[in-house]
Symmetry: D2
Subunit: 329 residues, 4 copies
C-alpha cells in the first residue's frame, strides 16, 4: 500500500507499519564529499526502504568562508562547490521506481551556529554571469556571516529573518551522466525549492541501480529565486526517512506536503522550467486524480501556484503546485 | 503628505482628508471600448486626484462567448480582444508623476453572473503559439461557462474555486506608443497579477498629459501564470480611488497591499521579467527604506517573494515582493 | 502578373511593363520625422503601385551626434530615436495585401559623408540593459565617427570595413497599435537584417488602408546581431520601387534577393524569433513551391541559412533563408 | 612555436616540422562506443601531440535506422544516442592547455554509403520538446534514407544537396562532470557547427589529465540550426591531426579556418549562447590581436558573423566569427 503519494502527510507514519532502521551519516563517515552526482562514485552507505538517516551536511562552501573577510574568489573554486553527502544506496531500487524522501527535521549544527551568504563574482540573478556573458565590471564580492538558531536568523540589528530550513540539493543519480552539484535537472540536483523542508516528501525518479541518493546544501532561509545566488547556507543535521515506490514512472521530481502537490521543472529559459512543472502537474492530476486533461489545464489556470526555486543556477527551477483541497473526489 | 507610498494600507483613508468626487463609468458612457492603450484615443472622462470612480468593465471577450458552444476562433478576432474602459484623464498629471490606483471593490455584474474560461488556438502556456512557432496541431478549442458570486466560482460538481477578484489590465498611456491591450509593459497593461485586487494600490508611471488611465479584464479567480491563457473572466463593477503623486519617478509599475510591497516587470524571456521586478525592488528599498543596495539584494535572496502574473501574453509579467515587516526602521 | 514573389530578381524590371511615377521625399518635404509606427500619423505622400521614391533618410540619432565628444546620454532621449520617413500611402493597399519594397540603391548624402557608431548606456548585446536588468555599472559611453564612401568605411588606419548598405527599419503600419521605431515585430520595424540592401525585395503584410510605409535607419555596414547596438549609421539617399500584391496573406515580413528567399521573425527569446522565421519558410515552401511540409522541414535542416539581424533591440530579428537553387521544380 | 593559433591555415603543415605517428581507430578497436563524455571511461588509445588519427565514426543512431520503416521511437532510446569514439588520451595534456584538432578529411564509409535524417518525437526546433513542454500531439515520425557520395547528397529526384561534411560532436572531458553526448557545453560536445569540417582547427580547453578526446556525429550536410533535429547523419572515416598548445587558457571552444576565427558558445536561451560566443571573440581580439576591447566590440558590430550551430539540442550552439582580413596588423 502506497501511503506516500496518495495520503496526506499525517498518515505517512503508518507507511510500513513502523519506521525501519536508523542510520547516521556523520562528516567522518562521509569522508569525501561529492561535487558531481552520478553513477561513478563509491557508495557511502546502504539502507532499506523505510529506513531513517541522520545526515550531517556541510554548508555550500564546504565551510571555507569562515569570516566576512574570506572572499569567494579567494576561497572557492568551481566546480568544487556545494558538497554532497552520499551516495546512499537503497536496496531494491531500480530504474522505473521512485525514491520518496521525507524530511523529518533540519537543525543547525555546532554550538554557535552561523549561516553564510555571499556575493560571488559573475553569479546571481542581477549580474552578468558566465552564461549571460557581458563586458560590464563584476559586482563587489561580499561575505556575510549571520547568527542563527531554530528561532530565527539574525541578519542585522534592524532585520531578523525567519528560520525556515530546507534542503537545496537532493538527487538520485542520472542513468549515465554525472552532473555537477550546482545544476538541477530531471534527476533533482540543486533545485533550491523552499518547500523542500521538514514535513515535505520529495519524489525522485530512480534511473540507476540502488537509486544513489545524494543530499546537501541546507538553507536556513531562502527567498523565491535565491536572488543573489546564495541563501543563508548552513551546516545542518538533517533527518530523513527514505521509501521506495516500485513501478511509478515519473519524468521529473515531485513534492508533497500536507497541503499541496508540487511538480518541479528545471531548465532555461525560465518559461521552459515553468512549462515542464505545469505539464507534469496536469499529467499527475489526469493520471491519479481522475481529471480530464483539459479540465486540469483550465483549473490550474485558476488556482495553480508557482514557486520560483532559483533563477541563478545553470538551470532554473520552478515548482508548480495545487492545493489538495481541489483534488478531493 | 503622501500616504500612498509610505504608509500601510489601513491609513490610506486619511489620504486627502476625504475622498473626492464620485464618478460612474457605465457601459453606455464608455460607448466604444479600446483595444490599444496610447495617447491617440478620445478621453471618456476627466477626474481629479482623490476622486472615486465606479467602472463597469466587460469581460475579456467583450461578451462574445455567450454559451459553451461559442468557440473562440469563430467569435473572437485579434487584436480586438480585452476591451478597456477609459481613457480617464486625471487633472494635473504629467510626465514624471505617479498615478496611484486603489481598488476598493470588485463585484460581478448582472443577475446571474457567469465567468468564462476558454482554450484559444495557439494561445496559452502549454501549447505552441504565434511566437513559440511550431508545426504541431493546435489544442482543442473549449469554452467553459461557470456560475459565480462573491462566495465562490462554481467550476463543477466536484470543484469549487474561490472568488478572489483582481484587475488583469491596468494602464496609463505610453509617451508615444499605442500598445494593444493584450501586452503588458512598463506602462502597465495586461499584467494579470492576482495581487491587484480589492485592497491593493497600483502605482503607474505617468508618461503623457493627464496620465490617461485604462482599466479592464476583471478576473474572478486566477492561478499563478494564467496557465491556459484565460482566467475566470467576468463583467465587473469595479470601484477605484485614484490619486496622483507628483514627482515620483519610477520606471515600472509597483503595487502595495497592507502586507507587502511589490514591483512588476514584464518581458520575455521570463527571467528578464523577474530581473526587472527584483531590480526595481532593490532600488525601491535603497531609495526609500534606507537599505544599502547590496544589503537589499542579499536580504531579498532570503525573503523575497515572486508572483508569476502571466506567462502567456506577448510579454510575461512577474511581481517581486517583500513583506513590510522586514522594512521597519 | 506577379513578378515580385515568383520570379528571380533580374525579371523584376518587367513588373508592370514600366516603372511608374518618380517621387522625391527630401528632409524638407518630410518635415517631422516619426518615432512610432502606426495608423495615427499624417501621411507625407501618396503613391501608386509601381512608383519609385527617392528618400533622404536621417541617421538613427537624427544627426545629434556631431562629433566624438557628443555622448549619447547627453544628446539622445528615448523614445525619440531612429527617426522614420513616412508614412507613404500606397493607393489601393488594404488589409490582406502585401507591400513589396524593392531597394534600388543607397548612397551616402552630403559632401564628406560620415557614419556614426556609439556605445549607449544599457544598450547592446554584451551589457545589462533595461530588460536584462542587472546591478553592474554600465559600460563606458563612446561615440565613433568614421568617414565613408561607396568604396568603403574607413574605421581606422588599421581597419577598413566594406560599404554594404542596408535599411535597418522598414515597416507598414500595424492595424491598431503604434509601435516605437526601435522595436521590430510582424509589421516590420527595426529588423536590422543586412540582406535588406540594394537588390532585395522586402514583402510586408498590409494591415491598414494605404499600407502606410515607413522607412529609415540606413546602415553603411553591419555585422550579424548588431553587437554593440549600433551599426555604421548614416544619412542616406535611398531609392525604392514599391509594388502591391493583392490578396497574398502573410503573417511576417519576407525578403527575396536574386539568390535566396528569406522569412523574418522578431521576438524574444532569440529561439522564438528563429522558430517564427523557419516556420514561415516551411509554410512558404509548402504553399508556393510544391514541397510536402515535412519534406521542407527536413530539407531546411540540411541547407537552411540563418541570418541574425539584431539581438539588441526590444525584440530580436532573425532571417531564415533557402537558396533558390533548391526550389527549382 | 605555436603555428596553430597564430598562423593562417596553409602554414599549419610546418607545425612540428612533420606530422607525427599515424593511428587508426576502427569500429573494432573502439569496441564500446560512449554516450557520455567525462573522466570515468577507459581510454581507447594514447597518442602524442602532432599525431594523426584515422577514425571510423558511426552515425548518430549507431546504425539502428536501417530502412525508412525503422522509426526512431522503436529503435532509439535516450540517452543511448550519438555514439562517440574515444576517449583518446593525449600525452602531456593537462588542465590549462588547449587541444587543437585539425580535420584533414571526412569520407563516407561503405560501398553504397547512405545518410539518414529523421523526425524524432518531441525533438527538433519546430515542435514541443521535453523542455519546451506542451500538450500538443507530437509531429509524425519519419525516417529518411538518402544516397550520398563525395559529390553530393541525393535527397530526391528534385533536390540534390551538397556534400559538405563536418563533425557534429567534438569534445575533451569536463573536469568532474560526465555529460551525455547530446549536450554541448564549454567542453565542446554536440555543437553541430557546420564550419567544423575538413580544413578547420578546433581548439578545446583541456580540463583533465590527457585531455580525453571524444569524437563522433559526422554530418554529410547540415543547415544552420539543424532545424528538424537531425542532419544527414552518416558513418564516416575521419582523419584528424591533434596538437597540444601548452598554457593557453580559454573558457570555450574556438575554431579557425583559412579565412576566419570563430568562438563557440552553448547555452539557453539562444541569446546567451550568442553572448558567450561574441564575448569570447572580443576577448580573443583584445588578448592576441592588439585591439582595444571597446574597439573590438564596435568592429564586431559592423563585420561580425554569426553561425547558428543548432537550436535543437539541450543547449544551443552559436559560433561568432570574424574574417581574418580585419585582423591584420
Amino acid at each position: 500500500m502506497n501511503w506516500l503519494k496518495t495520503s496526506i502527510m499525517h498518515t505517512r507514519g503508518v507507511a510500513r507499519g513502523e519506521i525501519g532502521k536508523l542510520h547516521e551519516l556523520s562528516e567522518e563517515r562521509q569522508g569525501t564529499f561529492h561535487y558531481t552526482i552520478g553513477p561513478y562514485s563509491n557508495p557511502v552507505m546502504s539502507i532499506s526502504p523505510g529506513d531513517k538517516v541522520i545526515i550531517d551536511t556541510m554548508d555550500a562552501y564546504e565551510g571555507k568562508l569562515r569570516t566576512e573577510k574570506d572572499l569567494p574568489s579567494e576561497h572557492l573554486r568551481v566546480p568544487f562547490l556545494n558538497p554532497q553527502n552520499g551516495p546512499i544506496m537503497v536496496n531494491g531500487a531500480e530504474k522505473g521506481d521512485v525514491l520518496a524522501v521525507y524530511i523529518e527535521s533540519m537543525r543547525p549544527r555546532g554550538e554557535n551556529p552561523r549561516g553564510t551568504t555571499c556575493l560571488i563574482p559573475r553569479f546571481g540573478a542581477l549580474t552578468g554571469t558566465d552564461y549571460t556573458a557581458i563586458l560590464n565590471a563584476p559586482l563587489p564580492e561580499i561575505t556575510r556571516k549571520v547568527d542563527l538558531d531554530e528561532e530565527g536568523v539574525y541578519w542585522s540589528k534592524r532585520v531578523q529573518l525567519p528560520y525556515k530550513p530546507h534542503i537545496g540539493t537532493l538527487s538520485v543519480s542520472p542513468e549515465i551522466d554525472s552532473i555537477n552539484s550546482l545544476t538541477p535537472d530531471n534527476h533533482g540536483g540543486n533545485m533550491d525549492v523552499p518547500d523542500m523542508g521538514p514535513g515535505s516528501i520529495t519524489y525522485l525518479p530512480v534511473r540507476s541501480p540502488g537509486a544513489r541518493l545524494f543530499i546537501g546544501d541546507a538553507h536556513a532561509c531562502q527567498g523565491d529565486g535565491e536572488l543573489c545566488g546564495t541563501a543563508v547556507e548552513f551546516a545542518s543535521r538533517t533527518t530523513i526517512h527514505v521509501d521506495l515506490i516500485k513501478g511509478w514512472m515519473i519524468d521529473w521530481p515531485r513534492l508533497e506536503t500536507e497541503d499541496l502537490l508540487m511538480t518541479i521543472g528545471s531548465a532555461r529559459p525560465l518559461e521552459d522550467a515553468t512549462r515542464i512543472a505545469y505539464k507534469e502537474l496536469v499529467l499527475w492530476m489526469a493520471a491519479e486524480y481522475g481529471f480530464d486533461q483539459w479540465d486540469a489545464y483550465m483549473i490550474l489556470s485558476q488556482v495553480g501556484k508557482v514557486r520560483l526555486g532559483n533563477f541563478v543556477d545553470p538551470k532554473y527551477s520552478v515548482g508548480a503546485a495545487i492545493q489538495k483541497q481541489y483534488l478531493q473526489p
